[in-house]
Symmetry: C2
Subunit: 261 residues, 2 copies
């Protein structure tokens, strides 16, 4: 199988990192829509249009399984993608919801994300459908993406802003927190500190990787597995800082190809 | 004349505000490319492509004079627009440069802007060509746009970040500072405080409005002037928060029309 992964930008490489960690022999095609990034501040309608274009590109390059790495796109565009394309589509919301439900003891789950993800209300809607006794509290944290992209991971300003964003969730006494944006795993240490040491953190990148691995293991026989390991990384825009940001997210240097959608 | 104004998003409304203040009877067509905002983090190539599309849209709606309100587009795309379209094109860089040269006494000018604007080097190149004795110091301030768009105008975090960004310019003992991004006039009080009370601030929105007014007054006779005052405001994306952000920038409520490019 060829796994096609798309994201609004380079943040989705945190998902690629987990996919490669759990399936090092799997071929991955990545598309980061850096020319139109970010998605999380935009309308559902626009995010759906862009996501369908992104998926179409991955399919044209040979992907036969799609992973939506972007939480904003996962929250608002998954159904539309499934309607347009007849191939397996995985997204980062459902696996993290299942893991959060499995982990919570007090039945109080927090979720942080972009404005678009939080406004979609997908967590508040889905979690009580699965476990009616669980309470869900969400908080939009729009400044965390630009702070991470600036590389301000450990700065005092970032720590203060994280603290401010997390205060309402802390007051709600959540015991489980979903990192509902690809960029947030890079802030995990400061998020853990500010939300409290006892709160369990769910990293959707890891959860979706485990889900995809399980699916692929059931689908294909072992002979096929190690066949075509030729990962490709496409971006719709490249700037002088892109390569270093990519390295920060993926933990490795890669060849980047610029394309137009 | 119909003035067509474009920007990467809603920030350019600070320019519209000045145009309306100085030419209340002039018809204005505004295009904010909110579906692809921001431009300032993207490559010159991409900014040029988008700017030509934006200008083409304004021309199709009847604009016969173009104002580039976006500093990133002004810095990298002005020549390309002039090559593609045969109509007067004004941008926010040149008028502010002239005003800064007129104001500086010590010959030390500072400029703050997005990564794209600062990387273009247009100020460092142009100012010494006009006045070889003047020294120019620039500083990219990428977090200020998201902070303004969050409405964090007076927050302590914003004040600290502004102070951090301005420190190198303060150490260079500039006496004149150009606000090289449409969003920065909203932070003018804190910028003035952190750079020092004696530093003169140049607001490019005001300078370009005065330049355009002068041009139009020379061009047209008074009879034509008050004819067609029908301003229109087009955006490529609308979200639930757009209307309130627009109000913050323009200081007035307006009808917004969504279009696709």
């Amino acid at each position: 199988m060829v796994i096609g992964v798309f994201d609004s930008g380079v943040g989705g490489l945190t998902v690629v990192r987990e996919l490669l960690r759990h399936m090092p022999d799997q071929a991955i095609i990545y598309l980061g829509d850096t020319a139109r990034t970010p998605y999380g501040t935009k309308s559902s309608e626009t995010i759906i249009d862009y996501s369908i274009e992104d998926t179409g590109f991955l399919v044209s390059k040979g992907a036969n399984l799609i992973v939506i790495a972007c939480h904003s796109a996962s929250s608002v565009a998954t159904n539309a993608i499934r309607q347009h394309f007849s191939l397996p589509v995985f997204e980062v919301v459902s696996p993290s919801i299942q893991q959060a439900i499995a982990l919570t003891k007090k039945g109080r789950i927090g979720i942080i994300g972009t404005r678009a993800t939080v406004a979609s209300g997908v967590y508040e809607k889905t979690i009580p459908e699965l476990s009616p006794e669980i309470k869900v509290f969400s908080q939009a944290c729009p400044l965390l993406v630009p702070l991470v992209e600036e590389g301000w991971i450990k700065r005092s300003e970032t720590r203060r802003i994280v603290k401010k964003y997390l205060r309402p969730l802390r007051e709600r006494e959540i015991d489980t927190l979903i990192l509902g944006c690809t960029h947030y795993p890079l802030l995990r240490p400061v998020i853990q500190e500010k939300i409290g040491k006892t709160v369990q953190i769910v990293d959707p990148a890891q959860e979706v990787a485990l889900t995809v691995r399980k699916f692929i293991e059931q689908k294909q026989d072992k002979a096929e597995k190690a066949s075509n390991n030729a990962n490709r990384f496409f971006l719709t825009d490249l700037t002088p800082t892109t390569a270093s940001v990519v390295r920060q997210f993926l933990g490795a240097k890669i060849l980047l190809e610029k394309i137009e959608l």
